[in-house]
Symmetry: C2
Subunit: 308 residues, 2 copies
């Protein structure tokens, strides 16, 4: 298919793949480590260069990722693929450092309700918990990403004021984080809201060179929101191969933006990603077979043999 | 949910609802006329003001719409709701006029392959067939819409040059049509392509005041493409309640843009549509029950009680 650029978009976008962590952490049945390893390896072979692989959260909370060390032990560590790992606290950072991890992510919340439910803390308390994690990680030379979840709406609080998101985002970046991922955890956001939030973050000193966006497709808005974010200057987009995942502590937070649907749009726009769409679709189709249910990605469905 | 406008978008969008015709013409089991009538009536009650209701195609080709006269006979004709009907040829126009229809649509093709398969004619022959239909319709005071299908790609020909689409579109408008609906019948288009096509149509004298867009979500692109079209000045958007429908002569052409997902975005952007989203969702949920399968609309899924 011929590419037709749209003026004002970046030439290249980095896809931050979250399927193995954000996707598989919600599977009721634990996925065997061999399957996870093959999944990550095939995603890297398809051209994804940043793959959030697992989480050093306590196995009691997310048993699906209890095999973090084992998975990292068997993954081929290639020089040009980054494998960030989610780290909830200092104990998680210890495990990351012990395993030679060089990129970590912390998971903050823009709202008190979600901080309470996901982190069992107030927003203030969560920032106090993150401070020594980020400080020590940076001292050890690690790259640190901060998620700001519920940045475009909250299932308990409804609207989330932009000023509140900017405040939490600024405090996270002040801790020393390298990148901020704006999370529409329940997928309610729309393109004007996305644009206004990115502009407000820029006005507060957090430029698009330090931003990523993380959209859920719960209300079908993820790709339109991505287009708005790209127009606003963002060049890092989170997506999940095959559309795996959601959020275990927010019932309605289903449906990450499928990586394939994103790549289809970027290919059509002539925006480089380095991803081989056919290999990616084959990987998600294989993974859907392992999980025993079809992928929610429109592209995976459209390109699968049974629909041809 | 608070609305946040995006500069450069229209204040108001007219949704051209295609579910009853484009959606139900693909149902394997014929939907009873009582159900169709209730569907259309409820869509109008939800605030949709333009509802393409049925087609005067020969029942041999589309038996699902063989009840066109019967349906139109039982529909309450309110003064502020328009019920355009698809008319394939002069015989169809006779039926439209006999039934007091004041708005019709003709269904053209941008490509020879689809003209052959859908109309059993070359593009030239199809335009010759449409000419007397449009001429007589206009002489009778009817409003005439022209679809240009396969405008962003064709399953047999692949890429469709923009110049070719502009040429067919111009010839359709020269016949005297009032509105042109650009159809991405197989859903392969992306936002840059959409923008370039709208600009090329404008340069050829077909301004956005005479354009509508008709996107399919086969590859997940429909809403992002809609956003691009709105930015380019389009104010009429085709959508299908609950995401019903596709195209009976193109296997991969599944998935109209769901009206609910469109309304969610427009509500969030503060763009007026006059549609009550809750009533619309309730209507699509009811229709999904009649059809015996869940709606593919993300919004309908997210707002249905079983997912709450």
């Amino acid at each position: 298919m011929m590419a037709t650029p749209l003026p004002g978009l970046p030439d290249r976008v980095t896809i931050y793949e979250v399927g193995p962590r954000d996707g598989l952490q919600n599977e009721k049945a634990v996925v065997p480590v061999e399957v996870k390893s093959e999944f990550v390896t095939r995603l890297a072979a398809a051209g994804l260069t940043t793959i959030e692989t697992t989480s050093f959260v306590h196995p009691k909370w997310v048993p699906q990722l209890a095999d973090a060390e084992e998975l990292l032990g068997v993954l081929p560590r290639s020089g040009d693929v980054r494998y960030p790992v989610l780290v909830p606290n200092e104990r998680g950072l210890d495990r990351a450092l012990a395993n030679g991890i060089t990129e970590i992510a912390i998971f903050g919340s823009a709202t008190e309700s979600f901080a309470r439910r996901n982190l069992n803390r107030t927003v203030d308390e969560s920032l106090k918990m993150f401070a020594p994690v980020v400080e020590r990680a940076r001292a050890e030379g690690l790259w640190v990403r901060a998620y700001v979840s519920m940045a475009l709406g909250d299932p308990w609080e409804g609207d989330v004021p932009i000023g509140q998101v900017v405040s939490v985002a600024s405090r996270l970046m002040d801790l020393g984080c390298s990148q901020l991922s704006i999370g529409d955890t329940i997928g309610v956001g729309t393109p004007g809201h996305v644009t206004a939030l990115i502009e407000a973050l820029g006005a507060a000193g957090i430029g698009t060179d330090r931003l990523a966006v993380h959209f859920h497709d719960t209300y079908g808005q993820a790709l339109a929101n991505t287009l708005a974010a790209l127009r606003a200057g963002v060049t890092v987009v989170d997506a999940s191969a095959g559309g795996l995942g959601g959020c275990p502590y927010a019932e309605s937070a289903t449906g990450n933006l499928p990586t394939e649907d994103l790549v289809w749009m970027l290919n059509g726009l002539g925006v480089e990603t380095g991803v081989d769409l056919d290999e990616l679709v084959a990987t998600s189709r294989w993974m859907a077979g392992r999980l025993g249910r079809p992928s929610p990605s429109r592209v995976v469905q459209a390109l699968s043999p049974e629909s041809e």
